[in-house]
């Protein structure tokens, strides 16, 4: 059971997060202020940490900086009511691994925590494989079994990202940030349209679907069962 440390000063928010993550099989310990949080973080028992940006006692970013300077590399998700792009950049620069703006959907939080716990495979292989799906990074070709898939560059990039994170829930916001390097929320359902195109090419009608759309949450790429 993965252990998480939550440093969050608002008790109600903390209770919600703990309940939700507890249901999803996480063991969450909680610290209500920066000092206590830093002490718990130093004990190093957590597999990942969720740290609120603004805390009494000690600023969230200071905690992260302190931990990183002490060589503690536990992945951190920064939680903040400060939504500005600048704040996000600051959060990541001070050593955070991901940044989530309040208010957020719980599924978004869970997806990001799971992503942190399972760092993407940075395998040096030039060919990525998921089930029958093969992506050649040198030749820029994709095929499913013996069937060649003709991909546009943007579709190739999206598929590569998903194959490196197979079996993981990828939310729309994560895809926007990571694949398109989008710094803002577009007004249209960009991700769905692009994903629709890709799905159409990857999963033909007579094949078992590999890309699943989890309604209201995001997308998962899996080897067909």
């Amino acid at each position: 059971m993965p252990r998480l440390l939550l440093i969050e000063d608002d008790k109600e928010t903390a209770d919600e997060i703990r309940a939700e993550l507890g249901d999803r099989g996480f063991d969450v310990s909680w610290a209500g202020d920066g000092i206590e949080g830093l002490a718990k973080a130093r004990s190093g028992r957590a597999d990942a940490m969720i740290i609120d940006r603004l805390l009494p006692g000690m600023d969230g970013l200071t905690i992260i900086e302190t931990l990183r300077s002490e060589g503690i590399r536990t992945p951190v998700l920064v939680l903040s009511a400060l939504g500005a792009v600048d704040e996000r950049v600051r959060g990541l620069r001070s050593g955070g691994d991901d940044y989530l703006t309040k208010p957020f959907a719980t599924v978004e939080l869970v997806a990001r925590i799971e992503a942190l716990l399972r760092r993407p495979s940075e395998s040096p292989d030039t060919v990525l494989r998921v089930g029958p799906l093969e992506l050649d990074l040198i030749k820029r070709t994709a095929k499913r079994g013996e069937r060649m898939i003709d991909l546009l560059p943007r579709e190739f990039r999206l598929l590569e990202y998903m194959m490196r994170r197979k079996d993981q829930m990828l939310t729309r916001a994560m895809l926007l940030e990571e694949v398109w390097n989008y710094k803002f929320v577009p007004q249209t359902n960009l991700v769905d349209v692009h994903m629709g195109r890709l799905r159409h090419k990857v999963d033909e009608p007579n094949e078992l679907p590999m890309i699943t759309n989890v309604r209201g949450v995001g997308f998962i790429l899996r080897a067909p069962a």
């Binding site: 939504g83 500005a84 792009v85 600048d86 703006t101 208010p103 959907a105 943007r154 398109w180 710094k183 803002f184 929320v185 577009p186 007004q187 249209t188 359902n189 960009l190 349209v193 692009h194 629709g196 195109r197 209201g216």
Partner: protein, 460 residues
């Protein structure tokens, strides 16, 4: 009350405490000092000159007298004294015991240095009787032992001092009075103006933002200052009104989805009979809340851009790849809607700016265009070169924006009534306007058919 009036009676009058009045007093004082010094110098120089001349004359006369025979001498002394209607000449001959032999001096003054003129007080004897006179006087011992004394009254030098003093008083007193009077008038005027300014400031502080500081036709520093402050007040007034308008818009745009959510929840609670029905209602409600939150996010984003005065994130941005990238991003969306998206990026311009923000701006324009163009329509995204500047133009065949709505469209929070039914927050164009303003580029919404939006990049 009595205490207050008592204390005010010892206080200086208000005008006397103004800076203008004090400056006037200082200048008047300096002027007074200079004038006194000048007059003193004039007096001193005149007195020295006259004394020197007087002494030279005395020495000459003494020499002439000394060379005469005793008879001639007596005659000369007599002549000298007779031809002196102004009674300024003094002469005397004393024997070696100091007894008067001739002349108009009663007693030989003691301690006179010989042959050199010096100052002394003597008793003058003539037809008018005895009189004490202040004189310059020189003595010479004759070969027969008699003492010859020649002198001149120096009362006229004293007279000159009196004349100089009188001139000083006549010239200086009116000048001082005038200076003080001018000081009083100027300081009263400055004070009145200040009082007026203060009154108006009080009104502004009390909330009357239409109030302005008084200006006159002149162009003195005070007027320039007032004009500057008025300009600032105008800007503040406009901003405050804008904020008030924005507040209303926010309230409205938040209330609409929230009202919908509330109604849905209420109905769901009353009507839902199965868990699935209840879930559907809750899902819809969450969607409504997300919409409200998106409004807040977009607003914060605009505020962030508007307050972002730092230009450190700026670099050279190539426009053509940016335009092609936006086109690439929206092409499938347009296709799904059966709208043709045509991208033309021939110009090889680069601009100084924040690439992410510019991308966001162009993406928003295309997003809007695709959204508001009906099925079968066409959206053109083009990078042009026109009149020496690069222009990114987004043209659509949608319903367009009326002239009256165009300006409102770039304000925060506006959505044309025609588009109320289409999903979207109406913040897209205000976001674009904020980004373009930050860069110092130009954003225009041109007349239709359809809607044409342009970001122009001045080439300087």
């Amino acid at each position: 009350m009595s205490a207050a009036s008592g204390s005010s009676s010892v206080r200086l009058p208000d005008f006397a405490r103004t800076t203008t009045f004090r400056s006037t007093l200082i200048v008047a004082g300096a002027f007074f000092l200079c004038t006194v010094l000048l007059f003193g110098f004039v007096y001193w120089q005149t007195a020295v000159y006259m004394m020197d001349k007087n002494d030279a004359l005395l020495s000459d006369e003494l020499r002439v007298f000394a060379q005469n025979t005793p008879e001639q001498r007596l005659q000369e002394i007599d002549d000298r004294l007779r031809k002196d209607p102004e009674r300024i000449k003094i002469a005397g001959l004393f024997d070696h015991d100091g007894h008067r032999v001739a002349g108009n001096i009663e007693i030989l003054p003691t301690g006179l240095p010989l042959d050199i003129p010096s100052s002394a007080v003597v008793v003058r004897l003539d037809d008018h009787g005895r009189e004490l006179q202040k004189v310059r006087i020189a003595a010479h011992v004759l070969p027969d032992g008699e003492i010859l004394v020649i002198g001149r009254n120096i009362a006229e030098i004293v007279e000159i001092a009196r004349i100089v003093l009188r001139a000083l008083a006549l010239g200086l007193l009116p000048a001082i009075v005038l200076a003080v009077a001018v000081g009083v008038v100027l300081s009263l005027r400055a004070r009145n103006r200040l009082l007026e300014v203060n009154r108006r400031i009080q009104r502004i502080v009390a909330g009357d933002l239409r109030e302005r500081l008084p200006t006159r036709k002149g162009n003195d520093p005070f007027d320039q200052l007032a004009a500057g402050v008025n300009l600032m007040l105008g800007e503040i007034e406009a901003l405050v009104h804008e904020i008030a308008g924005v507040g209303n818009d926010i309230a409205h745009d938040l209330r609409t989805p929230l009202t919908r959510v509330r109604a849905r929840l209420e109905r769901g609670r009353a009507r839902a009979t199965t868990l699935d029905e209840l879930r559907t209602v809750v899902d819809q409600s969450i969607g409504g809340l997300d919409q409200s939150l998106a409004v807040v996010t977009a607003l914060l984003r605009i505020a962030e851009i508007e307050h972002n005065r730092r230009l450190e994130g700026f670099s050279q941005v190539q426009l053509a790849p940016l335009v092609r990238e936006v086109g690439d991003l929206y092409e499938p969306i347009a296709e799904d809607k059966h709208v043709t998206l045509q991208v033309e990026a021939a110009d090889e311009a680069t601009v100084h700016g924040d690439r992410d923000l510019l991308f966001e701006a162009v993406a928003n324009l295309v997003d809007n265009a695709v959204k508001f163009t009906p099925e079968g329509g066409r959206v053109t995204l083009a990078l042009l070169h026109r009149d020496g500047e690069s222009v990114i133009q987004v043209k659509d065949t949608g319903p367009g924006i009326s002239e009256a709505e165009r300006e409102a469209a770039v304000r925060r929070f506006y959505r044309s009534d025609k588009s109320r039914n289409t999903e979207g927050l109406g913040l897209g164009l205000s976001l674009v306007a904020a980004i373009v303003k930050l860069h110092g580029f130009r954003f225009t919404i041109a007349a239709g058919p359809g809607c044409t939006t342009e970001i122009a990049f001045p080439s300087h």
